[in-house]
């Protein structure tokens, strides 16, 4: 009978040895990336776990879609039709603006902007560590996902891909403390860097001098500088601007427009070189 009668040896040297081993692993992983094959292998092995972990979300989505009843569905259908109509109208305007932009850029002899091809992705996991605003999506190398790729939801920028395996990718959200994105204020074109704060509802602008024109409710969009993110996608709205006269910089708080802690359906953005002809949109 192998029950609780056994006592385990409490060994400090053993613990220290394992801690030392962990430190060696940390350094090896940081400098050599020796664990990449193990991660890839585990990704395949853990697929059923991700699938199982995603079941509650799928059940909730299914019940929302099917348990609503015919009345609820009819209302939802009407709302969606109205939304589609509005979006189609806006799209027509965008097509015209896009064509005009291409003509103007040609006149200015400026470099052609890149067209972007989106690919739908679904959220399949969330990091269990609340310090890390990292999610897992069901697109990977097989779908062409790559490290540094921008990820959007229906309303704005969500984050960027930081790790890719065969069939899934890890996305670092813009609210993570390790994340920063170059932005500009739509309208005034003032440039800044929006950093994550570890709070899903808050970003901050770093090193903003008091002379800069930033006001509450200004929309910040990606500036495209740095090459990681395509330009022009909404990032957030300025929530508050606080200036302490004793400080050299202004504290600017930003509320992200993307639903960082809710969105389940996301878009991966693939840059595609624009065609040579200015009219070939």
């Amino acid at each position: 009978m192998e029950k609780k009668i056994f006592t385990k040896p409490v060994s400090a040297p053993r613990m220290l040895l394992l801690v030392a081993l962990a430190v060696v692993l940390l350094l090896a992983d940081h400098y050599t990336g020796v664990f990449a094959p193990a991660r890839a292998w585990l990704e395949t092995a853990a697929r059923p776990l991700y699938w199982l972990g995603n079941v509650p979300g799928k059940v909730a989505a299914w019940s929302r879609a099917n348990v609503a009843g015919p009345g609820g569905l009819a209302v939802e259908n009407r709302q969606l039709q109205a939304e589609v109509l509005v979006l189609k109208g806006q799209l027509q305007q965008l097509a015209e603006l896009g064509a005009e932009n291409v003509r103007l850029r040609t006149l200015l002899n400026a470099q052609q902007t890149t067209k972007l091809r989106p690919l739908m992705a679904e959220l399949i996991g969330v990091s269990p560590d609340p310090r890390r605003h990292q999610i897992t999506i069901n697109r990977g190398e097989h779908d062409g996902a790559f490290v540094g790729q921008a990820v959007l939801d229906g309303t704005g920028l969500m984050g960027q891909v930081v790790q890719v395996s065969a069939a899934r990718a890890e996305v670092l959200l813009i609210s993570d403390e390790r994340h920063a994105v170059p932005v500009r204020v739509a309208g005034t074109d003032v440039r800044a860097i929006a950093e994550g704060t570890g709070d899903y509802r808050r970003l901050r602008l770093r090193h903003v001098p008091p002379t800069l024109e930033v006001a509450v409710d200004d929309l910040l969009v990606t500036s495209g500088l740095g090459g990681h993110f395509p330009a022009g996608y909404p990032v957030g709205r300025v929530a508050s601007v606080a200036h302490d006269p004793g400080q050299p910089f202004v504290e600017v708080a930003v509320t992200p427009v993307a639903e960082l802690d809710r969105s389940r359906h996301l878009l991966l953005v693939f840059p595609e070189p624009a065609s040579e002809s200015p009219h070939g949109s």
Partner: protein, 159 residues
């Protein structure tokens, strides 16, 4: 031998279920209350499981978590190992504690684990320290009785 295999199956199964539970946890403010389920299950086996499941076991589960979650390899492994060591120091007493006292111990151990992870976070990102990062200790205290009940049932069936 069969008993040992059975135990391994139970341990692996419970760790797997904890992994699934923590992968798609609730988000937003409630996420901070979400207890580290994998850690709690590991601590349960370290405290009440067969002699085989000690520091090495905690280290391996931590490493598995590192590789699965994309954290630097060794981060969770170190935190799990140190927390398991602290648990082992209290092992004899905890076995005789009533459930409310065990909950306090589970909360304290989760707090120690979070402290180590916060330390890693500060080294990595130079970020800020949020009090909310320690709320999971509260979640751990709430979940522990359920965990003891469920895993205890498995345990009592014997191996």
């Amino acid at each position: 031998m069969a008993a040992r295999g059975n135990a391994a199956l139970q341990v692996a199964g419970s760790v797997g279920i904890a992994l699934v539970l923590s992968m798609n946890g609730v988000r937003s403010w409630a996420q901070f209350l979400m207890p580290p389920m994998v850690l709690l299950v590991t601590l349960y086996w370290v405290l009440f499981g067969p002699v085989l499941y000690g520091l090495g076991f905690a280290f391996l589960v931590g490493l598995l978590l590192d590789l699965m979650l994309g954290t630097p390899a060794g981060e969770y492994a170190l935190a799990f190992c140190v927390t398991a060591y602290l648990a082992q120091l209290l092992e004899h007493r905890v076995r005789h504690f009533t459930i409310p006292y065990q909950c306090l111990v589970a909360g304290a151990l989760t707090l120690a684990f979070q402290l180590i992870m916060v330390m890693f976070g500060l080294i990595e990102a130079g970020g800020t320290l949020h009090l909310a990062q320690f709320y999971s200790a509260l979640g751990a205290m709430l979940v522990w009785p359920l965990l003891v009940l469920l895993l205890g049932r498995l345990h009592d069936r014997g191996w």
